[in-house]
C-alpha cells in the first residue's frame, strides 16, 4: 500500500502508475532547468563545431575556449545531472509507490543546483573561467567558478539523499512487495554511482576553491587529475545507469516489453555499481606517477565486468522487445518484430537509436580507447570526444529526449504541437550525432588534438599540421554538428511549446504517439504472467542474437585493428 499523504497524489490516466504531486512538482522543475542548460550547451556546441570545421573556423581563439568551457559544463554536468535528478524522483516515488521523502530537502537541493550552475555560467561568460571543464591546475579560475561547482555538487548530493530517504520510507512502509521494479533498481544504481562522483567532487573542488582564494599554496597536478576524474568520469557513469533504466522503461511503455530474466538484468546493474567507477583511470592511462598494474586493473573495470554488464543490457533490452513483439503476432522471419516496431513513436525511435549508437559507436570505441596501451595512440586526440559524443549524446541525451516525449504528456499533462516534427526529430538528431562522432573519431586517428583552436598551427615557430584527409573529417564533424544542433533545436522548441503553451490533458489518457488500441495491447502483453509460451519465445530470440553477434564481430575487428595500429608506432615504455 502506498504511503501518500491525503490529496497529495494522483493516478496516471495513461499508465495507471501513482504520481506523488510533490515529486511531480520537482520533476517538472528539474526537467525545465535541464532543458535550459541543454539549450545553452547546444548553442555552444554549434559554435564549437563551426570552429573545428577548419574551412569555417568561426570563433576567435579566446571565445573558442570560453564557449568550449561553457559547452562541457552545461552538457556533461548541468543538463544531464538535472535530468537525472528528475528521473530519481520519478523512480523513487511512482515506481516504488511512495511519497517523496521531503519537499523542503528537495527545495534546498534545487536552489543550490540552479544557483551553482548559473554562477558557473556567469563566471565563464565574463571571461573569468577560461579553464575548460576540467580546470586542470595550475590553470586557475575565479573562486566563484569553483564555488558554483561545489554548490551544484552539494545540491545534487542532497537530492540523491532525498532519493535514498524515499527508498528508506518506501521499504519501511512496505509500499511495494518483494523486490523493487527493475527501472527503480537502475535508478538506485545511478544514485549510488552519483554518491561516488560527488564525494570526489568535494574532495577536489574544496581545496581548489581555497587555492583560488590564496588560502592554499599549491595543488599537485597529478593528484588533482586523479581525484577530478573520480568526479568527471563517474558523472558520466550515472548517465549510463540512468540511460539503461530509461531503455527498460521506454521499452515497456512503447512495446510492452519486460525483462526475460530478472537475475541477469539486476546482476548487470550490480556490476555497474561495484566496478564501473574504476574506469576513471581511462583518463590517466598515459599519465606519469601511476604504474601499469594500477592502470590495467582500473581501466578494465576489474576484468571488464562493467563492460560485460553493458553487453548484457545491450542484449536484454532488444530481446525483451523482440519477445513482446512476437507475442503480438509479429513472428515472421528473423526481423519482422523489428520492422513492425513503432518507429513513428519518438519514444521508441529515440531509445532504439540510442541503444544502437551507444553500443556500436560509443561502446566499441570506449573499450578500445580505454585499453591501457592503445590509449597511447588516442589520448587527447579527437578520438576521445568522438567516443563520448556517441555515449553521452547519441546514447544518454537521445534516450532522455525519448523519455521527455512521454514526461511532458504524463507528468506535465500537456499535449505536443507539431507531432510530425517530433516523429522525425530522433532521426535527425541521431544522424547528426553519428556524423559528428565519426568525423571526430577519424580526424583523431590522424592525431588531430581535441580542445584545440587551430590545427594549422598558424604562426607557430616550428610548422605543424595535418593532411587533407584529416581536414575532410573535420568537415564531416562540422556538418554533423549542424545536423545534431537542428535536431536539438526541434526538440527544445517542441518541448518548450508543449510545457508552457500546450493544451492541458489532465484527467485523460495520452495516446499521441501510438493509437490507443496498440497501447492497450502492449500493456496487456506486459501484465501477462510469464507462461510457457513466453519462456519458449524468450529462450530463442533469433533477431537479437543476430544483432549482438554483428556487434561482437564489429567490436573484435575494431579492437584488433587498433592493436595493429599501435604495433606500428615507435617503441616506448
Amino acid at each position: 500500500m502506498g504511503n501518500f499523504l491525503e490529496g497529495r497524489y494522483r493516478t496516471c490516466n495513461t499508465t495507471g502508475l501513482p504520481v506523488c504531486l510533490d515529486a511531480q512538482f520537482f520533476i517538472k522543475a528539474h526537467a525545465v532547468a535541464a532543458v535550459v542548460f541543454f539549450l545553452i550547451g547546444a548553442i555552444a556546441a554549434l559554435l564549437i563545431a563551426l570552429t573545428r570545421w577548419s574551412a569555417v573556423h568561426l570563433l576567435p581563439a579566446m571565445w573558442f575556449y570560453r564557449v568550449l568551457t561553457l559547452h562541457g559544463l552545461n552538457m556533461l554536468i548541468f543538463w544531464i545531472i538535472s535530468f537525472e535528478i528528475a528521473i530519481l524522483y520519478f523512480a523513487g516515488t511512482s515506481l516504488l509507490n511512495s511519497r517523496l521523502f521531503s519537499r523542503k530537502v528537495a527545495w534546498v537541493a534545487y536552489v543550490l543546483m540552479v544557483v551553482g550552475a548559473l554562477m558557473v555560467d556567469y563566471i565563464v561568460l565574463i571571461g573569468k573561467g577560461d579553464v575548460l571543464m576540467t580546470s586542470y591546475p595550475p590553470l586557475k579560475a575565479h573562486p566563484l567558478f569553483y564555488l558554483g561547482i561545489i554548490f551544484f555538487a552539494v545540491g545534487t548530493l542532497i537530492a540523491v539523499f532525498n532519493f535514498f530517504a524515499t527508498v528508506y520510507i518506501a521499504r519501511r512502509d512496505k509500499t511495494y512487495e518483494g523486490s523493487m521494479p527493475l527501472v527503480a533498481y537502475g535508478a538506485l544504481a545511478a544514485a549510488i554511482i552519483a554518491v561516488v562522483t560527488l564525494l570526489h567532487g568535494a574532495t577536489v573542488m574544496i581545496p581548489s576553491f581555497l587555492w583560488s582564494l590564496g588560502l592554499v599554496e599549491h595543488i599537485d597536478a597529478g593528484w588533482y587529475r586523479l581525484v577530478w576524474w573520480g568526479l568527471g568520469h563517474p558523472s558520466q557513469q550515472i548517465n549510463v545507469a540512468a540511460m539503461v533504466a530509461v531503455w527498460y522503461f521506454m521499452a515497456t511503455l512503447t512495446t510492452g516489453a519486460k525483462p526475460l530474466n530478472e537475475t541477469v538484468c539486476r546482476a548487470a546493474f550490480v556490476f555497474y555499481i561495484l566496478f564501473i567507477n574504476l574506469a576513471s583511470a581511462h583518463h590517466l592511462l598515459v599519465d606519469p606517477g601511476l604504474n601499469a598494474s594500477w592502470k590495467i586493473w582500473n581501466t578494465s573495470y576489474a576484468m571488464y565486468l562493467a563492460v560485460l554488464a553493458s553487453m548484457i543490457h545491450g542484449f536484454t533490452v532488444p530481446a525483451s522487445i523482440e519477445v513482446a513483439q512476437r507475442l503480438k503476432g509479429f513472428t515472421r522471419g528473423i526481423f519482422n518484430w523489428l520492422t513492425s516496431a513503432p518507429w513513428g513513436d519518438p519514444g521508441f525511435a529515440s531509445i532504439f537509436l540510442s541503444i544502437v549508437i551507444f553500443g556500436f559507436i560509443g561502446g566499441i570505441t570506449g573499450v578500445t580507447l580505454g585499453t591501457e596501451q592503445i590509449n597511447i595512440i588516442a589520448h587527447n586526440t579527437l578520438r576521445i570526444p568522438g567516443h563520448f559524443h556517441a555515449t553521452v549524446v547519441g546514447g544518454t541525451t537521445l534516450a532522455f529526449m525519448g523519455l521527455t516525449y512521454y514526461v511532458v504528456p504524463l507528468i506535465f499533462q500537456r499535449d505536443f504541437y507539431f507531432k510530425k516534427w517530433a516523429r522525425v526529430q530522433p532521426y535527425i538528431f541521431a544522424s547528426g550525432v553519428v556524423l559528428l562522432s565519426l568525423g571526430m573519431s577519424f580526424a583523431g586517428s590522424y592525431g588531430v588534438p581535441r580542445r584545440h583552436w587551430d590545427v594549422n598551427f598558424t604562426g607557430a615557430p616550428l610548422s605543424a599540421g595535418f593532411d587533407a584527409a584529416a581536414h575532410f573529417f573535420l568537415g564531416v564533424l562540422g556538418i554533423g554538428g549542424i545536423l545534431a544542433f537542428t535536431g536539438a533545436l526541434i526538440f527544445i522548441v517542441l518541448t518548450v511549446l508543449a510545457v508552457f503553451f500546450g493544451k492541458s490533458i489532465a484527467g485523460q489518457p495520452f495516446h499521441g504517439w501510438q493509437p490507443a488500441e496498440k497501447f492497450k495491447l502492449s500493456m496487456e502483453i506486459f501484465s501477462r504472467k510469464k507462461d510457457e509460451k513466453f519462456e519458449q519465445i524468450a529462450h530463442k530470440v533469433p533477431g537479437t542474437v543476430v544483432l549482438v553477434f554483428v556487434l561482437l564481430i564489429s567490436f573484435m575487428v575494431y579492437y584488433f585493428a587498433n592493436w595493429k595500429a599501435l604495433a606500428d608506432v615507435w617503441w616506448v615504455r
Partner: protein, 48 residues
C-alpha cells in the same frame, strides 16, 4: 506457491544499503586510495 525461501544472492542484491556501501568502498580503495598512495610515494628525480 514456491514458498518464501529466497535465494541468498537475491537477498544481497535486494539490499540497497549493502550495494551503496560496496559501491563506495570498491572504487575508493581500488582507484582513489591506491592511486593516491602511488603519487604520494613517488621517488625524487635524480636527473642523470
Amino acid at each position: 506457491m514456491e514458498g518464501n525461501q529466497k535465494h541468498p544472492l537475491q537477498k544481497l542484491m535486494d539490499n540497497p544499503w549493502l550495494l551503496l556501501a560496496l559501491g563506495l568502498l570498491i572504487p575508493i580503495l581500488s582507484y582513489t586510495i591506491w592511486g593516491w598512495y602511488q603519487i604520494v610515494t613517488m621517488a625524487k628525480a635524480l636527473l642523470p
